[in-house]
Amino acid sequence: MMVENKRSLFWRKLAAHAFLICFIALILFPFLMVLSISFREGNFSTGSIFPERPTLEHWALALGFEFTRADGTVVQPPYPVLLWLWNSVKISIIASVGILVLSTTSAYAFARMQFKGRVGLLDTLLIVQMFPAALTVIAAYAIFDALGRVVPWLGIDSHPALILSYLSAITLHIWTIKGYFDSVDPALDKAAMIDGATPWQAFRHIFLPLSVPILAVVFVLSFIFLINEYPVASVLLRNTDQMTLAVGARQYLYEQKYLWGDFAAAAILSGLPITVIFLFAQRFLQSDLGDGAVKG
């Protein structure tokens, strides 16, 4: 135990707590403001943290109901927020499952099989994952524009196209899962091989059941990454009803059409479930973050 002067320790503790509380107040300020704004009247009004005349207008609109004001005017919901949330969740889940399938099979081969170019491919993955997806959108647009002329359901403005392009986000996950597979005792799969199992069987019956925790981590990581993805989605999805939340949410704050209050309610409504998922998953993720998932 360190030698500490009791009196100085007290002041230092006090300082640390005071600092943390001030810092957290600063962090929470935007969230509290948005919560307050979502209950204020109108889209431009300003006021105190606790609105004098709270209204549920923005919340009703965000949930997709029309709202009748006190003076009798009826307001229609400006955007289909719940539909966007559904689109986002649907696309992110399907693409994450796809990413999981592709990265596990690849990782297994990289971890346990010998083939030409194995090391070179692995190193290439590390370098390739740094390339910003946002700058390849010109090509992505051209690819799906061309594909759409042959297979309409794979064209611009279709969800399958977006999901397909998201499958490329496997580079880092291959490394993560490979690292986990490397730690599996080779005696296990050797024993299976001696009993006549094919590599596929070893993969399916030994590696998959053993690696459920890391698969969960990869799933959550890619889900969060995809639900936040903006540039590719904004180029591939044009129609309001097809948009994901990240693309749609931007519609609220244009200079010409500034729906601050409606945005606040929609942001909380759609951000809350994602935040809760993240906080819930975070304790599983923490150990994995160091392996290179980069955000912020």
Binding site: L28, I127, F131, K295
Partner: protein, 525 residues
Amino acid sequence: MSVMTEDRDPQSNLTENSMVRDVYEAVKPFFRIASLTAIALAFLYVIWGLYLAGEPIFAVVAFAIGISIVILFGWARFYTWRFVFPGVAAIAVFIVLPVLYTSGIGFTNYSASNILPFERVQQIHLDKMVKAPDSGRPFALTSDSRLFFPEDDGRPALITVPIEKATDGRLLAAPHKGQAPDTLKVKAVLQNRAALQQLVVELPDGGELTMDGLREFASSAPFYTLEEEGVLLGADGTKLVPNHDKGFYQNDAGELVTPGWPVGVGWANFTKVLFADGIRQPMLEIFIWTCAFAFLSMIFTSGVGTMLAVILEWEHLAHKGIYKLFLILPYAVPAFISILVFRGLFNQNFGEINLILGGLFGLEPDWFTNPTLTRTMLLLVNTWLGFPYWMLISAGFLQSVPRDHFKAAALENSGPIRNFFAITLPQIMPPMVPLLIANFAFNFNNIVLVLLLTRGGPDIPGTIIPAGSTDLLGSFTFRIAFQNSGQDFGLAGAISTLIFIITGIIAYVNYRAMQKLAAKRSARS
């Protein structure tokens, strides 16, 4: 995946009935052949379609993927590659191919004005119609809503069926004998103009008339006729000559006529980026700002994050869990929502931040119009978004700092700040280096933040292409390609290529740093 499942050796399922197994064994090869044939046919359909759609590159790519699938899943000797191929193909098609394709576009003039292939551009010119000479005939609307063409220059009078009876917008005209019918004033024509303009009048001799002004119907003819080598000869003797170096038709005066078609322009886009006045200056400014932004973001986020992690590690601190939960919130909330929230809060006119600053200090900073303030805001928001990541990372690395070092330091009366710089930092720095480089690369290309928060603005004055003072290279490129009126994909492709090269260098440096770290670790153990 479905193809792979057939590799399951039935021996492992001992519960299975042996007859079922025999049937399964007998059917398996056929099933494999059938599914491979189906896949091959589907690919052939797509390849042929892409080829017909004028996309030979994509057709070749589709062919390569299709043939790889058939070979890898058709022959047992490529068994290993079945595991790797799907993932590698996804990366090749959606990362490597786009990077190459985008760079390729950088060598063309592909843009909003040069987007259609040459044949289509030619057709657009050939579709231009003009009034055929001397084909105009005066007309009037009759009281029973027919079109009446009086006798004119020896051409006999004609009358059509009532316009409501038009089929597919076509009206049959028949010769009219005897007295002229009751006709309405021009005012009636004016009222029905929209409907009349849609009509095509079929003449008894097979000719067609369409409305030409309020008093006449006339037949039209293509203005241009196609000559040899794509030259278009106009009805008035003027000529349009295709210029395949520039990708435009040129008229007799040498002016370029839109629309054009995409052609290769060599290094033109690159020299434009590097040397053209009005582009080079803002490019340089944006490049410097991009590097500064990435570096400062890295310093601020990792600095604040590490500081908080150190404080939270302190053994005398109570309620760590609850502090941690709150501090992690900015990372947990989807970034696109927080960024837009800040966009609203920082709003100069009705944003809450200026309200508070105005109330407390009488300040109302112009966050979105003053370049320095906008950049400050961008860094503030990015630090807010990014520090929790570093807090989590540092917390992990801090665990590995040996405790007894601090005991020794306490004997020397060393304070917490000296402890941090003398003991903690040297210990946690080496494993953090690759992550710091990766973070730099991430912020170098942090396009989402800029697009959602400032959209690049405020604009740098005196530039040819709209360039903003908060634009990162990536967002600048994105806006050139997708948001400004020009949609200059060629120029965007050239800048993207430069960004790819820079990113590639950073990625390689990072890779070397990781290798070094791994070597050090294995040497130590």
